[in-house]
């Protein structure tokens, strides 16, 4: 689903109606689920209508997408070399000993 530029709240009567279709709380739960596979058609429709007019939920969806992309990138091998942490000498020796 592409993010759309939301309309200005309060300029149109239908905006109020659209925003009422589902609550933001429901919308963000659906938005999250939409990242894990296709939503059933009625939920997808409700979410789209809500996102047309709700700036904060549009922002929420784009932010959880950033989080998803960031985590996936963190998991790539090329990114692993930037991670902190090293084995202590004690553990290193313990492991070596276990291999003898």
């Amino acid at each position: 689903m592409k993010s759309r530029k939301p309309l200005q709240i309060g300029t149109l009567a239908p905006v109020w109606l659209l925003r009422k279709v589902i609550s933001c709380k429901t919308a963000v739960a659906l938005a999250s689920r939409s990242l894990d596979g296709a939503l059933p058609i009625s939920e997808r429709f409700q979410l789209r209508m809500h996102l047309l007019v709700c700036t904060m939920c549009v922002r929420y969806l784009s932010q959880i997408r950033m989080i998803r992309d960031g985590l996936l990138e963190m998991g790539t091998i090329s990114e692993s070399k930037n991670l902190p942490g090293e084995l202590s000498n004690e553990v290193r020796e313990r492991i070596k000993k276990s291999l003898r």
Binding site: K25, R59, G75, K81, E86, S98
Partner: protein, 209 residues
């Protein structure tokens, strides 16, 4: 996705002495494990088990992939075994996200809609700026450490390693809807944590509620 190994080598370069493996690949495997299991002791244990398993089955390494990739493959399985086992000892459930710190209105006509003073704020992350991108990733890493343990296991498998939902459900013995709720909860946690840390960094001195 194409994965590159920072330590490329071919089969003839692999030392017959396993203690040299620990020096050469130990830190790399440890960092890999630490990102996923978070606890130092657990990470050390899975790395040790990985080297031990590698020693026992070294005949099965034919150099089709690099030695480090082969080790990482073993390590991945050890990490999943760890999640499978710790999943058995956990029975707590994660109910729908709400609670007193919720940013949703709790009453009135717009009940369950964002409280405009506490809802999501603009982050303005410039992803073309390498420095800013690194900093964003660092904060994301910190927030990941603050996730409750069971959510962290879900995020490790599903989000960091992109393992299929069905597989994650099987490993943790949870239902798909359970998984959705946990992912949703975790994203809310992470988003909130990231937002407060990011905005403080961008506008020092302005505390974010």
């Amino acid at each position: 996705m194409k994965r590159h190994s920072p330590l490329s080598e071919n089969i003839s370069d692999v030392s017959p002495d396993p203690s040299t493996w620990v020096d050469k690949y130990g830190d790399y495997l440890f960092r890999f494990a630490l990102l996923r299991v978070r606890d130092r002791t657990v990470a050390e244990d899975v790395v040790q088990e990985t080297f031990f398993a590698a020693l026992k089955s070294r005949q099965t390494f034919h150099g089709k992939s690099s030695f480090s990739t082969w080790l990482v493959g073993i390590l991945r399985n050890k990490i999943i075994d760890h999640f499978r086992q710790s999943g058995r000892n956990h029975t707590e459930e994660y109910p729908e996200a709400s609670g007193p710190d919720s940013a949703f209105l709790t009453g009135g006509e717009w009940r369950d809609h964002w409280d405009s003073a506490r809802g999501p704020r603009e982050w303005s992350v410039d992803s073309s700026d390498e420095y800013e991108r690194q900093e964003f990733m660092a904060i994301l890493g910190i927030c990941l450490k603050h996730l409750p343990e069971r959510l962290a296991a879900v995020f490790s498998m599903r989000e960091i390693d992109g393992i299929e939902s069905d597989e994650v459900c099987k490993v943790l013995a949870i239902s798909p809807s359970n998984l959705w709720v946990m992912l949703h909860r975790g994203r809310m946690h992470l988003r909130k944590c990231l937002e407060s840390k990011w905005l403080i960094r961008k506008h020092p001195g302005h505390e974010v509620a």
